[in-house]
């Protein structure tokens, strides 16, 4: 759902990458919708409510703003979609505003997202009712096992706040696609820890669990400037090199291909039969 470092308007005015838990940050973002005093790493038992606050409710609030800054398909994902055989049927789990749903008109994709507001935008991507989308949780997907030719999941799993949940999310994707013998495969994209050249400057050794501000710029500016800007804090787990592949293998998947692309790690994987 989320892409850093591609001229996103919301991100462009965000605070520098400092420890989110400090009082100084809280003071710098006095209008934060989410409490800046919350610990960055979620206690396991409360992972769901933590993600509700620091992921789901944020995307519900910023949906239209977010969508307006996320219109261009990333090349690696577009070429994956264009490489599929005509008539292939697949899933886009965490489809956001639906920018991948119509990349290849010769395949059928059912999109899903946790945010109803984003799903509504995705439905009309490329025209009224053009795309088929549903509201669903990545850990309780409404897809029958082993039926889809492919599933993509872009910038989604890094929003899950425990490793167990991130692995379960990969498992859920693998379960939806045909076994390897049937050619089923998944493509997963997650944000990388190693991005020293990005604006945020994280790199090896940095804390992998971060709250990342999204500044929602208000259209009505006050005379003093600033207006009613609102800062939302989104939770991210930043993947270190090799971690995504480890998670695929841990849930019985087979990595077919993987790589690094503009501050993200990605992997194409299939089920072991």
């Amino acid at each position: 759902m989320t892409k850093p470092g591609q001229g996103a308007e919301g991100d462009a005015v965000a605070a520098p990458p400092v420890a989110i838990t400090t009082a100084a940050t809280a003071a710098a973002a006095p209008q934060a919708a989410a409490s800046s005093a919350a610990p960055v790493i979620a206690p396991g038992a409360d992972a769901e409510s933590y993600e509700q606050q620091h992921v789901h409710s944020v995307y519900e609030s910023i949906a239209s703003h977010f969508s307006a800054t996320r219109y261009k398909p990333w090349p690696v994902i577009a070429s994956f979609l264009l490489s599929l055989p005509p008539g292939a049927v697949g899933l886009d789990v965490g489809c956001g505003n639906g920018k991948y749903l119509a990349v290849n008109p010769h395949v059928h994709i059912v999109g899903s997202d946790r945010s109803a507001n984003l799903v509504r935008i995705a439905r009309d991507h490329g025209g009224d009712r053009r795309c088929d989308v549903a509201v669903a949780d990545g850990l309780a997907l409404p897809f029958p096992p082993g039926k889809a030719d492919f599933a993509i999941c872009v910038a989604v799993i890094h929003h899950m706040s425990t490793r167990q949940r991130r692995q379960e999310a990969v498992r859920a994707l693998l379960e939806c696609v045909r076994p390897d013998s049937g050619g089923g495969k998944i493509l997963v994209y997650v944000w990388a820890l190693e991005q020293s050249n990005s604006r945020r400057g994280w790199d090896e050794g940095a804390d992998q669990d971060q709250l990342v501000p999204w500044v929602f710029k208000s259209k009505t500016k006050t005379a003093g400037g600033g207006g009613g800007d609102t800062t939302y804090q989104r939770y991210y787990h930043l993947y270190r090199k090799g971690e995504l592949e480890e998670d695929v293998v841990a849930v019985g998947g087979k990595v077919l291909d993987s790589g690094y692309d503009k501050d993200n790690w990605w992997a194409v994987a299939s089920r072991i039969n």
Binding site: P85, P86, G87, A88, V89, L91, P105, H106, H108, V110, S112, R114, A116, V119, R120, R123, R129, D132, V133, A134, V135, A136, D137, A140, L141, P142, F143, P144, P145, K147, A148, D149, E175
Partner: protein, 127 residues
């Protein structure tokens, strides 16, 4: 939500995944719209082997369509018979559920469909 997509949806409840009753979901109080979409013959022919014909037959009947033949047409049959192709296109691509519910026959849960969007978020007791 196109009828085609119903062929690729099931109940979101974990315990239902292993039950054959959780697929396909059953439309209830469905309000349909018919869109006008250009026929993509090649797409339909390639889709055919991926369609669960039994499930599609159930869905079509429940939505009030005339009964489908018991066997799926072969790609050759479909290619040679324009009327058949158009009928299938109409059912799979042009018919959309806009309002109503999708019901799981295993757990009985009803998923609401509003403005063409099904909501599969589960109440906490079903997670």
């Amino acid at each position: 939500m196109k009828v085609l997509s119903l062929n690729f949806l099931s109940c979101a409840v974990k315990g239902c995944k292993s039950s054959s009753d959780s697929y396909p979901l059953h439309p209830k109080d469905a309000e349909l719209v018919q869109d006008d979409i250009e026929v993509n013959a090649q797409l339909l022919i390639n889709l055919l082997p991926r369609i669960d014909w039994t499930a599609l037959t159930t869905t079509a009947t429940e939505l009030g369509f005339p009964a489908l033949p018991p066997q799926a047409p072969t790609p050759e049959e479909l290619e040679a018979d324009e009327a058949k192709l158009k009928d299938l296109h109409h059912l799979l691509m042009e018919t959309q559920i806009m309002e109503g519910k999708l019901v799981c026959a295993s757990c009985g849960h009803e998923y609401a469909v509003r403005e063409g969007i099904a909501n599969f978020l589960l109440p906490s007791h079903l997670v």
